[in-house]
């Protein structure tokens, strides 16, 4: 095993059980300047930062995925195992390992620590969260632990930056021994490690008062079979209100900024292809992505808050039984919930699902949750075709139809999950084993770093792909140029494609205008409204005005069966390009996004057809 391949730079790595406060320690050691990427071939995040060492110099610090054991039981743990063994292609073997322990849970965390120490790397142990251990009534002796383990043990409180300088110094000291040969230790079996962990923990605990931990008391309420779900749904209600209410002013402001850029370009660039490219292609495309940023940031704020506080695991616990009914587990609940705002953060949130097949299934059904971009489409069609009658006191028919569309999405997702679990993502029924971590007060800085990383990943990845895609769409819609007197839509490549599509879509009641609108709606679903408006040659840039005018046009032009079929179509499809882009990124290839788009289009076609022909048969 080569200790120093000159082609790879030198790294140190943080390892530890999940819930050891490892990420907070990583933030404290490296600050906000972190690089997030995916490990090649797996959807596990590689988090790296720079650690300044006392006495000058620095080293790249890796935050390896939290692991209970080097005998990997999940893709995350497999990455950790490979990196510390120096078997991960393209990653240097770490010169120094920093094992992070939860001071209040030594008996458990020392098992993994011994497994890591047996590798013989220069190692430093961070005895983290000593403040919480004190809260639990434990007084610890780091020196005794250091003696038992044979490596330096530094007490730390990552969230208050306690012991960080000492830890950096210990890492520097360990690094100076990095070129010596590995001191492989005697390998123990897992039960032996557990036994010796028990002894070491006992030796390191000076005193232990029998103070009760707060968790059991809180959980008695939050996990109560009756009260727990009520609290969960109250929290979710607040989150959804916030996602829609708080995001609107920011989204409007962003739209305003994009609008003023568009105005600026229109004023300064002479009319022609370049100007059209900049305004209709670049700015319209980038704008349609950026407006989702506020919703994503707000949603992730709450998700990170629930994760950091320890509540997320409780939410998963409460929802597990329900999710088990369709072959998933409680861990799929939050990603699916997020998908009601937008499938992009939802699919990104599936990273917390350790079982790969569970995760894939969740990604594949996430687009069936009615995202906020479908709302404008639903709103327009419902306003045009469903009379504002009330079916019961306080229950309007329009609201009922909207609710039914949401339910149709959920039911569809559940059925698809069941089918997928029995076919393409077939496997042993996914279990649900997870630690319910202790409750903690989240720290603002860790939340801010997490939010910044999510926002950046969204803007950079989805942004680049949708950028290219919208430009491609613009080209399709703009060329070849129309002869005078012809409409641009008709003469464009997209127009010809729509004519071709109409042949396929006519049997399910779609007219040519709908076929045309479905093409740009691939970029973002709500574009369907403005695209319909354009095809009906309603010449206004104001979206509200456009929506109103198009409502009247389609009310006059479409039959009710066509409108209902159009709604049914949008329950399942079309896929927006950002969702496809994120799915490609999260599944590392084109296979699953292609499968997803395929099955959704088939479902959309079949259900739009059933809706159309049923409506026609009923004489609607």
């Amino acid at each position: 095993m080569s200790r120093s391949d000159p082609a790879l730079h030198r790294i140190a790595a943080l390892v530890g059980n999940p819930n050891s406060g490892k990420s907070a320690l990583f933030n404290a050691l490296t600050g906000a300047r972190q690089k997030i990427a995916n490990y090649a071939g797996v959807t596990v995040e590689r988090k790296a930062g720079r650690l300044a060492l006392p006495g000058g110099g620095s080293i790249e610090l890796l935050d390896l995925p939290g692991s209970y054991s080097l005998d990997a039981a999940s893709p995350d743990e497999e990455v950790t195992r490979k990196v510390v063994h120096g078997e991960f292609a393209g990653e240097a073997i770490p010169e120094v390992l920093i094992v992070v322990l939860d001071a209040a849970n030594l008996e458990q965390h020392l098992v993994f620590a011994q497994e890591v120490l047996e590798l013989g790397h220069p190692t430093v142990v961070a005895l983290n969260m000593v403040d919480l251990a004190e809260r639990d009534g434990l007084t610890l002796d780091p020196a005794a632990l250091s003696e038992a383990l044979g490596v330096p043990v530094i007490p730390t409180v990552a969230v208050r930056r306690k012991g960080i300088t000492e830890l950096a110094a210990a890492i520097a000291e360990a690094k100076s021994h990095a070129d010596e040969a590995l001191h492989s230790r005697w390998r123990l079996t897992q039960p032996e490690r557990r036994l010796s962990a028990k002894h070491m923990a006992r030796g390191a605990i000076l005193s232990k008062s029998t103070r009760h931990t707060v968790e059991n008391g809180i959980d008695r309420t939050l996990l109560n079979p009756w009260v727990g779900p009520v609290i969960l749904f109250a929290i979710l209600f607040v989150i959804f209100q916030a996602v829609f209410a708080w995001a609107t002013p920011f989204a409007d402001a962003l739209e305003g900024v994009v609008g003023s850029f568009t105005g600026f370009v229109t004023d300064t660039v002479p009319p022609g292809l370049v100007r059209d490219f900049l305004t209709e292609g670049v700015l319209a495309g980038v704008g349609s992505v950026v407006v989702f940023l506020p919703q994503i940031v707000i949603l992730f704020f709450f998700i990170l808050l629930m994760e950091a506080s320890g509540y997320m695991a409780r939410a998963a616990f409460l929802m597990d039984r329900l999710m088990a009914g369709v072959g998933l587990s409680g861990k799929s609940f939050i990603p699916l919930l997020s998908s009601f705002a937008c499938a992009i953060p939802g699919i990104m949130a599936t990273r917390s699902i350790s079982d790969p097949k569970d995760r894939l299934t969740t990604i594949l059904i996430a687009p069936l949750m009615t995202c906020s971009a479908r709302l404008p489409v639903y709103a327009v069609i419902i306003a045009a075709f469903i009379p504002p009658d009330s079916v019961a006191p306080g229950v309007g028919l329009q609201g009922l139809v909207l609710f039914a569309l949401y339910v149709a999405g959920i039911v569809g997702a559940m059925v698809v999950a069941l089918v997928l679990r029995g076919t393409v993502t077939k496997g042993a029924a996914s279990g649900f084993i997870m630690e319910l971590p202790r409750y903690q007060l989240p720290r603002i800085k860790d939340l801010a770093i997490g939010l910044w990383q999510r926002a950046w990943v969204f803007l950079r990845r989805a942004g680049t792909i949708i950028f290219v895609a919208t430009i491609a769409l613009w080209v399709l819609l703009s060329f070849p140029k129309a002869e005078p007197g012809e409409s641009q839509m008709d003469s464009s490549i997209a127009g010809h494609v729509a004519t071709g599509l109409a042949v396929v879509l006519e049997p399910i009641g779609f007219n040519r205008q709908i076929s045309l609108a479905l093409i740009p709606a691939m970029a973002a679903r709500e574009v369907a409204v403005s695209a319909l408006a354009t095809t009906y040659a309603v010449d206004t840039d104001d979206e509200d005005l456009a929506a109103q005018a198009v409502t009247e046009r389609i009310a006059a032009d479409w039959s009710l069966p066509t409108a209902l079929a159009f709604l049914a179509w949008f329950v399942f499809a079309p896929q927006c390009l950002s969702t496809i882009a994120v799915t490609r990124r999260e599944t590392n290839g084109w296979k699953w996004p292609a499968f997803m788009v395929g099955y959704l289009f088939v479902l959309a076609y079949v259900f739009a057809g059933i809706t159309y022909w049923s409506a026609v048969a009923l004489g609607l």
Partner: protein, 80 residues
């Protein structure tokens, strides 16, 4: 002999055996890594919603872990 899923809530018990064959490979690994093994002390803290009372939240060592009843059925315990 009783299995963990039939243990009354809040009663301290000791694991007398785990039928690893009943568990999927990764689940067995994960449970073992969390300290579920012969001799470990265990207690049921909370049970899930609906008729099946699934999943279970159990205390093992200093930790609270959630698992399903199907896992608990593979774990035999004796009260202490």
């Amino acid at each position: 002999m009783m299995t963990l899923d039939t243990l009354a809530g809040g009663t301290d018990a000791r694991i007398t055996g785990v039928d690893w064959k009943l568990l999927a490979g990764d689940e067995a690994k994960r449970l073992r890594a969390l300290g579920v093994d012969e001799g470990a002390q265990i207690a049921i803290l909370h049970r899930g919603i609906f008729g099946t009372r699934d999943p279970l939240a159990i205390r093992i060592g200093q930790m609270t872990i959630a698992l399903r009843r199907s896992h608990a059925q593979a774990i035999t315990v004796e009260t202490i």
